[in-house]
């Protein structure tokens, strides 16, 4: 177990080491260490812009996707079993349809050929990620919903005069919180680490971190290592914040 974990962490550690190395060629470990490349990176306005763009898309995706998906999952589970079955099928589609195929379709549809131009703007990413992220909410939330005796809860709630909305807010929604947290975290990593959509649909018009990494990849190995290390730091910090913020909400 420990060995497997070490192997999984190794590539990330190697990139981080390389980002701080003075010279690293022909030896197993770097010769010396420096923060020169890190400071060079932080002084680069393109880096700051890319971090801003990536966070904007990722946070935008979290807000939009959860607002659109969670109510639909709830009402389908509670009231519309046929819709629920359809959602179960729709949600598996991204596995069968690779993101490059969907990106091709979006490229054809929203480049202005049909009067709508979304490509080149962050909107195509924020909305384009919804079908990909829907299953990340659907699966864990459904697990939470299956675990509660929904029919009994609604019967008892209505008996004491509570509206369905009140039952949802006071009982159903709190019980799906753990699933929602998992969904939010996974949605965030999906949005911040996407390259395929970002590269084909917005590219240089709205450079995200992944695009910037691609741009730098031809140049200095040290600088790109520093960049990837910084990218990882962003992902880790943001993931921790999402987990922390949402688990605090559950506790209160």
């Amino acid at each position: 177990m420990g060995l497997v974990f070490a192997v999984q962490v190794l590539p990330i550690a190697a990139v981080a080491l390389n980002g701080f190395a003075t010279e690293w060629a022909g030896s197993v470990l770097p010769v010396g260490y420096t923060t020169q490349y890190m400071s060079q990176l932080f002084a680069d306005p393109r880096f700051t812009q890319a971090v801003g763009n990536s966070l904007l898309v990722a946070v935008g995706s979290l807000v939009v996707t959860s607002t659109i998906c969670v109510p639909a999952i709830l009402v389908a589970h509670c009231y519309f079993p046929i819709l629920d079955r359809w959602m179960g099928a729709l949600i598996i589609l991204p596995y069968a349809v690779p993101s490059i195929v969907l990106a091709l379709g979006l490229l054809r549809l929203y480049s202005g050929n049909y009067g709508v131009v979304l490509n080149g703007t962050p909107w195509v990413l924020i909305f384009g990620y919804i079908p990909l992220a829907a299953s990340l909410y659907y699966v864990p939330i459904k697990n939470n919903l299956r675990a509660i005796a929904l029919t009994e809860i609604f019967e008892a709630g209505r008996l004491v005069g509570a509206s369905d909305l009140a039952i949802m807010r006071r009982i159903v929604i709190p019980s799906i919180m753990p699933g929602l947290v998992v969904g939010l975290v996974m949605n965030f990593t999906l949005a911040i680490s996407d390259f395929v959509y970002a590269n084909l649909l917005v590219g240089g018009h709205f450079p995200t971190l992944q695009i910037f990494i691609g741009v730098l990849s031809g140049g200095s190995g040290r600088l790109i290592s520093a960049l990837i290390t910084a990218y990882f730091a962003v992902v880790l910090i943001a993931t921790s914040i999402v987990i922390w913020a949402t688990s605090r909400k559950i506790a209160s």
Partner: protein, 280 residues
């Protein structure tokens, strides 16, 4: 299912409609657009695109290479991830959550960052390459090759394997294990006679999704080998955005063929992976 009145029904539908609209506009329509474009050549309906791909050794070769790499890395991931998932199951809940979240970050660790990390470790003068050469185990190792791709793909495939297999292990409940133990079954016998048969459908389903994931991988292959790799996704990317080889209709045709190859086993896997109490 819960009964509601007319007014409640309308409100409830209103909650579901934005979701359905988005799925239609950003999933169904793009797929339809790709499919439609694939049967047009220079503005007129035709099956020439399909004839061109199915008659080309180059393009068929791309499907063959993609298929082999995907099948191989799916099998590697399944074999490695299965024991890890079993060990993980015995850990405290909090540890499970943390490892699953990090596995999820890992499965999204693709594209340029992943390719670059592996070049540092296993490139021409990478640390691991140097260690292996010093130990006399290899003469050299070329990461920019099909073998290199298998190594790099295995990284995220194993993590995805853990994520896919872990929930399925819930079917092996403690009382089944207890019962087997009481009857004197060894661990090995338990897994061979009871555990694996119970999990077989889920494992088959996981294998298919891993296969599909590798077939659809674009960013990592593009970052590591670029157009030098003859993979389906690389060819699609080149036909879409390339300067020399650009032919959008042909790209859409390859994409359609890729979806056809994937959708048949995935729909089958859906039936295999479905939990037994899915009518709940």
């Amino acid at each position: 299912m819960i009964e509601i009145g007319r007014r409640g029904r309308i409100i409830a539908w209103a909650c579901a409609i934005p979701f359905l609209a988005v799925i239609f506009l950003f999933e169904v329509m793009p797929l339809a657009a790709v499919l439609t474009n694939s049967v047009f050549k220079e503005g007129v309906p035709s099956v020439l695109n399909y004839a061109e791909i199915l008659g080309s050794r180059f393009y068929l070769g791309a499907f063959r290479v993609s298929f082999s790499i995907s099948l191989l890395t799916a099998l590697i991931a399944l074999v490695v991830a299965f024991p890890i998932a079993i060990i993980l199951r015995r850990m405290p809940g909090r540890v499970q959550d943390i490892i699953l979240v990090f596995s999820n970050i890992g499965t999204n660790f693709t594209g340029y960052p992943l390719a670059f990390a592996f070049v540092i470790l296993m490139g021409v003068s990478g640390s691991i390459t140097l260690l292996l050469i010093e130990a006399g185990l290899v003469k050299d190792f070329n990461i920019y090759s099909t073998a290199g791709l298998v190594f790099v793909y295995s990284y995220f495939q194993i993590l995805l394997g853990i994520l896919l297999i872990f929930p399925a292990l819930g079917a092996i409940t403690p009382d089944i294990e207890e019962a087997a133990k009481l009857m004197g079954a060894s661990r090995w016998l338990f897994w061979r006679r009871i555990g694996l048969p119970i999990l077989a459908p889920s494992l088959a389903g996981a294998l298919l999704l891993l296969f599909a994931n590798a077939m659809g991988t674009y960013a990592t292959a593009e970052a590591l080998v670029g157009s030098g790799a003859n993979l389906v996704t690389i060819r699609i990317g080149e036909l879409t955005a390339g300067d020399v080889f650009s032919d959008p209709n042909l790209a859409d045709t390859m994409a359609t063929l890729l979806v056809i190859i994937l959708i048949i086993p995935i729909v089958a896997a859906q039936f295999l992976l479905k939990p037994k109490d899915s009518n709940a």
